[in-house]
């Protein structure tokens, strides 16, 4: 009997999103030459999180600089550099950003659920009405 993978591509594609043995999700490295600056290395993450955090951090008035880069497209990692004005540490700024995005998403989800139910009821009612009219023939 022959066992076959359902596809023949790269066997280790899960390396894109599974942390290696002992690897940390986020590593912070303080930038010694510039005050209040850190470079965060996110492992097994991509533009989804990189762009989200970098752009969102820029909306924080305490953040002076925020940008991310993917050092190499074949390695699932990105570096986020954050500089603050000193009222908060870069780490606190990133954490606060995460919290605010989570809140925003909760709000979005709430609105999505109510509107979805509403729209479903309306469109189902519509179908029913059409059927009724059809049957009255």
């Amino acid at each position: 009997m022959l066992q076959q993978k359902a596809d023949h591509d790269n066997e280790n594609r899960f390396e894109l999103f599974l942390l290696d043995e002992g690897q940390q999700k986020v590593e912070e490295k303080a930038e010694t030459r510039v005050p209040n600056t850190s470079v965060f290395t996110f492992n097994k993450e991509d533009h989804t999180l990189g762009n989200l955090l970098a752009q969102r951090l820029l909306k924080n008035p305490a953040v002076m600089f925020a940008a991310y880069k993917v050092p190499h497209p074949l390695f699932a990692t990105f570096e986020l550099r954050v500089q603050t004005d000193g009222t908060v540490t870069p780490k606190e700024a990133v954490m606060e950003t995460c919290r605010l995005v989570i809140q925003d998403l909760s709000r979005l989800n709430e609105s999505f659920q109510t509107e979805w139910l509403g729209k479903r009821i309306v469109s189902e009612g519509e179908v029913e009405r059409q059927q009724r009219e059809h049957n009255n023939y």
């Binding site: 009997m1 022959l2 066992q3 076959q4 993978k5 359902a6 596809d7 023949h8 591509d9 594609r13 899960f14 894109l16 999103f17 599974l18 942390l19 940390q24 999700k25 986020v26 996110f42 993450e45 533009h47 989804t48 999180l49 762009n51 989200l52 955090l53 970098a54 752009q55 969102r56 909306k59 924080n60 008035p61 305490a62 009222t87 908060v88 606190e92 990133v94 954490m95 606060e96 995460c98 919290r99 605010l100 995005v101 989570i102 809140q103 925003d104 998403l105 909760s106 709000r107 979005l108 989800n109 709430e110 609105s111 999505f112 659920q113 509107e115 979805w116 729209k119 479903r120 469109s123």
Partner: protein, 335 residues
């Protein structure tokens, strides 16, 4: 800087909602979060797909690996995949009922007619958490699903397919959505697009009047160009493959993204969190399990009232949340 100059909170408006697609507008949102959600829905929602195939017999004209590839792409119902473990996180050797669904495809052509083997001929053999999980998705009028192989008289096919949980980052067969439409600023008022043209882009490019009207109408030629304007209204069109209903794709996408962010928070807030709490396992879903689990259903990241995430954190216990000196931000909550 406020990303919502008009004020008003994040809200959703539906254009179409049925079992196949969710066509909606998100208002008072921001581009980076909207795009992150789009990317999450595309690539990081767990679904079920055939991953390993045991070929017992194949005398069809198609090669084993060819048929196996086709089997992998057959959409299966993913209702309740949360209850399934990732095979790599499971204690078992290879696969078991806790981390996989076994289907068999067994057909032999005995008549003189060409026999078609369809997705509906996949039969679930294993014990599944619910009746739906693993069923081939059938949406066509004939109720057959897609054609996998054709058999001539005397040809036979007999395969044991092991369907596992996975995400589309690993292979596109695990993608929950067929396609996700995403658009903002259909009238190009922000000048994010630079249209190519022969003489006049206004005349040469088609306009989506309906969408432009939904997005505040066509640009006013007398108005000065606002160089610092940002998009706030986003058009999504989520179409499902059939494994997960479209509304679930969106809700799961939101939940997966929240769990991802919560994971960053956890890693930054000391990172030494209880090994037991957050699990040694590293699957993206397993990450969620640590917080009571979006899978286990104890803690739903999106459940509580908006803002429930600010102060007393629902995921970290004492690790962070109330203890940060920035519970009350010195710069307000608007950004």
């Amino acid at each position: 800087m406020d990303y919502d100059p008009e004020g008003g909170s994040i809200n959703v408006r539906f254009l179409q909602a049925d079992s196949q697609r969710a066509n909606f507008i998100v208002q008072n949102f921001n581009l980076e979060t909207a795009n992150a959600l789009r990317r999450t829905m595309l690539a990081e929602i767990p679904t079920l797909a055939i991953d390993v195939v045991e070929v017992r017999d194949n005398t069809s004209v198609l090669a084993d690996e060819f048929v196996c590839h086709r089997l992998g792409l057959v959409p299966l119902s993913s209702t309740g995949v949360e209850e399934l473990l990732y095979a790599r996180d499971c204690d078992c050797d290879g696969y078991c009922d806790n981390c996989s669904v076994t289907l068999t495809l067994n057909a032999k052509c005995t008549g003189s007619e060409i026999m078609k083997v369809y997705a509906r001929d996949l039969v679930i053999e294993s014990r599944t958490p619910n009746d739906e999980l693993g069923k081939p998705v059938i949406t066509d009028a004939e109720g057959t699903g897609s054609c996998i192989v054709k058999l001539r008289r005397g040809q036979a096919i007999n395969m044991k397919c092991i369907a596992k949980k996975g995400i589309a980052k690993e292979h596109a067969k695990w993608a929950p959505s067929a396609a996700i439409g995403f658009e903002y600023d259909p009238a190009n008022k922000l000048h994010h697009l630079d249209y190519w043209f022969e003489e006049d882009p206004e005349k040469e490019w088609p306009k989506d009047e309906a969408r432009i009207n939904l997005d505040g109408g066509p640009p006013n030629p007398d108005e000065e160009f606002k160089y610092d304007a940002v998009p706030t209204r986003f058009f999504y069109d989520v179409e499902t493959v059939g494994g997960i209903p479209p509304d679930q794709i969106v809700q799961q996408g939101i939940a997966v993204l929240q769990v991802k962010l919560a994971g960053v928070l956890k890693a930054l807030s000391g990172g030494t969190g209880d090994a037991e709490d957050f699990g040694g396992a590293q699957s993206p879903g397993a990450n969620g399990d640590g917080y009571g689990g979006m899978d286990a259903g104890g803690y739903t990241p999106v459940g509580g009232p908006a803002g429930g995430y600010g102060g007393a954190s629902s995921w970290g216990g004492a690790a962070q949340g109330g203890t940060t000196p920035y519970g009350a931000t010195p710069y307000g909550q608007n950004w």
